[in-house]
Amino acid sequence: MELNKLTAHELIGQLESNKIKPDDILSSLKQRIQSINSKVKGYVRVSDLLSPQLEARSSKLPLKGIPVSIKDNICTEGYNTECCSKILTGFKPPYDATVIKKLKAAGATILPIKTNMDEFAFGSSTENSCFGPTHNPWNLDCVPGGSSGGSAAVVAADEAIVALGSDTGGSIRQPASFCGVVGLKPTYGRVSRYGLIAFASSLDQIGPLTKDVEDNAIMLNVISGYDPLDSTSVNIPVPDYTKTLGKNIKGLKIAIPKEYFISGIDSEVKTCIEEAINQMKQLGAITKEVSLPHTKYAVPVYYIIATAEASSNLARFDAVQYGLRVKAENLIDMYKKTRDQGFGDESKRRIILGTFALSHGYYDAYYSRALKVRTLIKSDFDSVFKEFDCIVAPTAPTTAFKIGEKTNDPLQMYLSDIFTISANLAGIPAISVPCGFTKKELPVGLQIFAKPFGEEIILQVAHTYEQATLWHKKKAKL
């Protein structure tokens, strides 16, 4: 049996009945990685897989030694964490991110090789990585989405059991949609950001990418919760997210926002989503069209707030304490040369944009205005959630596009996040679950939003839908 193809909950069952050992899982994963990573390129620095320190943890704890794959922007003590940027070459954090501590405490095995991503999570295609692009397992000519494209691809390609990604404007959900896996962005404050190398601090969240909804709930159980090291983590109890799985969705009120079915949406994607909505009705949900009137402003608001915060967050990469240093006679030349050679084009573009938006004379016109429109976007959601349990919409306007297709047009690339960005701006949770395939065999993702801390309802709806359709059972042919 190919253990690498199984889900975490299936493996936990087998481990509990002592049919297999954690090392069996690890060796089946290693084999898979060695045979196909050169095609998919979902992992970076693969030679570290042979690291002698790597041993599966035999454990009585809930995760029983299950291997977890980690995006390259989450700090792992002693393992390189480089955000797929040249500027962080060789950086080994002296500490574990809180989510890594929690995973270890729950008995997980952390893989020493990290998953590929757009440099500093700047992108929607995983093409902006200093290690080169990741390929979509469903079609190697296509992008896996981004920025957590590596995490999504390795889960889809059975090179991972489960993975962690980060989502600032859709970076978990959009690649989940492109790769046909389940990806959740939790409520802002649900999962500690301590140890997540910040892109945009007010938007970033860590979340799981998994083969099915149950695995997602299991992972969320482990990584959620208050962290005294993160001032923006919220101190409210963590429910058992697997408890509501299997509960029917009869009478549940689902809103369908009309703004998500217009501009530029692919007709096949639209059909898949409409069929999914019909399926939900058949499962007993009540659906109704609503309006989120400020949706079209989400992308411009996001590209001001996110780049402004990023320009400040990335100022620390200055060659003083860690990472790349380009030798220079004096300090300012060292700064400028290191940051010129260490950052890729997209990173430079965003740092420049963000610096500009905060600079003297432009703050009010750009940053301050963006914060105000953010308020309007949030209140759009607030009013819908007064009446509805969740919102259902497409995750992305299209399926996976071709590698290189949008690299020369940053604005077109930014618009591929048009349906995911609002959830980050409003701080609400949202999931992407597989909801069908196009004629070209590319997966489509269905997005479900709920109000803050409404992860239980999201997982319940996603699970009920998933079990009724079984799209998640389909595997990419590699």
């Binding site: 950086f91 950001r193 190398i197 945009a200 923006t232 402004a308 200055d318 304490q321 003297h360």
Partner: protein, 479 residues
């Protein structure tokens, strides 16, 4: 032309917390380089700040002590600029919603009270320390993240002396509040100054310069003094004052322009997304307010009013909180209405005793405690012992941890006020000092003091000097 100076001061103060502002690293001074650092204060990727509760409380306390309004909402902002002592290349500071605003501090200048306005006081994190070598700089991040309170005055200060007074008063208050060491040598208090000149009586402000690198209050005073002269001379010569930062050079005693090319700073402030808002409730302010002790100015007024102390003495006593407490305890125990003899002792022998031992007056352990000291002073007042003996006994008592009264008894140091035995000794002294006697008689009446001295020597200081002088004069005039 006559010019007047317009001066504003900016003080940066280390708050005396055990740990840094946003992480649990120790703030202890003088430890090995980069030994008190963690991912947070090093600004390592992925790390996040969490505010120290005591730092916030201390900042509120300082604000209240400086008569500021504490804002009900306050937040932190990022101040973005690149410098190798700033690990994140932004400083967590406060921009448009500082913790405390609109305060003041009263100073005494030329016998009058002057009010210096305080624009704002806000909380921020300190940067690290750079050591400049020939072709490189070394960075130690131990100081990085220590909570700093920045206190900015209105341009209300008009002379170097006023600036000095302001700083002394400020330091005194902060010590009373017990929130900072205020040690300029250790860098726990730093002061920059803005100064411009304008023709006396003019309303418009002149071009200002910013002065840095003063490492004592006197340095601030000297630097301002130099700068006033420099600017006045320049204006007289029709030169323009350049808006610039100048560094105080303690060796040459002059301010010199900073060598770096100055560009218009653009700090790109924006709200710190990693730290949610802080709401300061009226209850919180009340709670901290009740913990504020009587401050030096009020204490001084009370000492003058309640105990009849002179302003001069009271000022010496309230200059240290602990000394003031010790002094007041003694003043309350002092049995007589006139406190002057006791106060003279506090500001005299007690203070010099402390100074010679490098201690604060309250740290002096007096054998037998307050009562013994009071008895000693009373004995001197009643003429039982001489002032000189009293002082010697006091020193010996402390050095040998013996009761003063015991020393007096054992050595029989009681003052000799017995006229007969004193007269007998006077005869002997006159015999041995014929020259002084002759001088006196020749009209040099001062010569009597030499004879008093001889008498004191002869009696081992025990003779009552007043009486001896009287007896001597009588004897010399009568014969």
């Amino acid at each position: 032309m006559n010019y007047e100076a317009v001066i504003g001061l900016e003080v940066h103060l280390h708050l005396k917390t055990k740990t840094k502002a946003f992480c649990g690293c120790s703030t202890e001074f003088g430890q090995g380089a980069n030994s008190q650092v963690c991912p947070v204060c090093l600004g390592f990727p992925g790390s996040l700040p969490v505010l120290n509760k005591l730092a916030l409380d201390f900042a509120i306390k300082a604000g209240l002590g400086l008569n500021c309004t504490i804002q009900s909402h306050t937040k932190f902002d990022r101040k973005n600029y690149f410098y190798p002592d700033l690990p994140k290349n932004y400083q967590i500071s406060q921009y448009d919603m500082p913790l405390a605003i609109n305060g003041y501090l009263d100073i005494d200048i030329e016998g009058k009270t002057k009010r210096i306005g305080i624009t704002r006081a806000h909380l921020e994190e300190d940067a690290g320390k750079l050591i400049h070598k020939d072709s490189e700089s070394w960075v130690d991040f131990n100081r990085t993240g220590i909570p700093l309170l920045e206190i900015v005055t209105e341009p209300d200060i008009s002379s170097p002396q006023e600036a000095y007074e302001y700083l002394s008063c400020l330091k005194n208050i902060l010590e009373y509040l017990e929130i900072s060491d205020c040690d300029m040598e250790k860098g726990s208090l730093r002061c920059d100054a803005n100064i411009s000149l304008r023709p006396k009586g003019a309303k418009e402000l002149g071009v200002k310069t910013e002065l840095k690198n003063m490492n004592s209050f006197k340095g601030v005073k000297d630097a301002l003094g130099f700068e006033i002269e420099r600017q006045a001379r320049a204006l007289e010569n029709g030169e323009k004052i350049i808006q610039e930062t100048r560094l105080w050079n303690i060796k040459s005693m002059e301010t010199v322009p900073m060598r770096t090319k100055e560009e218009a700073q653009d700090y790109r402030y924006f709200p710190e997304p990693d730290l949610p808002l802080f709401l300061i409730s009226a209850e919180k302010i009340n709670e901290i307010n009740t913990s504020i002790p009587e401050l030096p100015r009020q204490k001084l007024e009370r000492f003058v009013h309640d105990y009849g102390l002179s302003e001069y003495d009271a000022k010496i006593i309230v200059s240290s909180k602990a000394f003031a407490l010790t002094a007041e305890k003694l003043i309350k125990k002092w049995p007589n209405k006139i406190k002057k003899p006791l106060v003279n002792w506090l500001c005299g022998p007690l203070l010099s005793e402390a100074n010679s031992r490098n201690l604060s007056p309250e740290e002096i352990i007096i054998p037998g405690g307050d009562d013994e000291l009071i008895d000693l002073i009373i004995a001197q007042e009643e003429g039982k012992i001489s002032h000189l003996i009293a002082k010697t006994v006091f020193t010996e008592s402390i050095a040998t941890t013996t009761l003063a009264s015991e020393i007096i008894k054992k050595k029989n140091l009681f003052q000799i006020s017995d006229t007969d035995s004193l007269n007998a000794m006077i005869e002997e002294v006159l015999k041995d000092n014929i020259k002084s006697v002759a001088d006196y008689r020749a009209g040099k009446t001062n010569a009597v003091m030499a004879l008093v001295g001889q008498m004191m020597k002869k009696t081992g200081g025990k003779a009552n000097p007043k009486l001896v002088q009287e007896l001597l004069k009588r004897r010399l005039e009568n014969a």
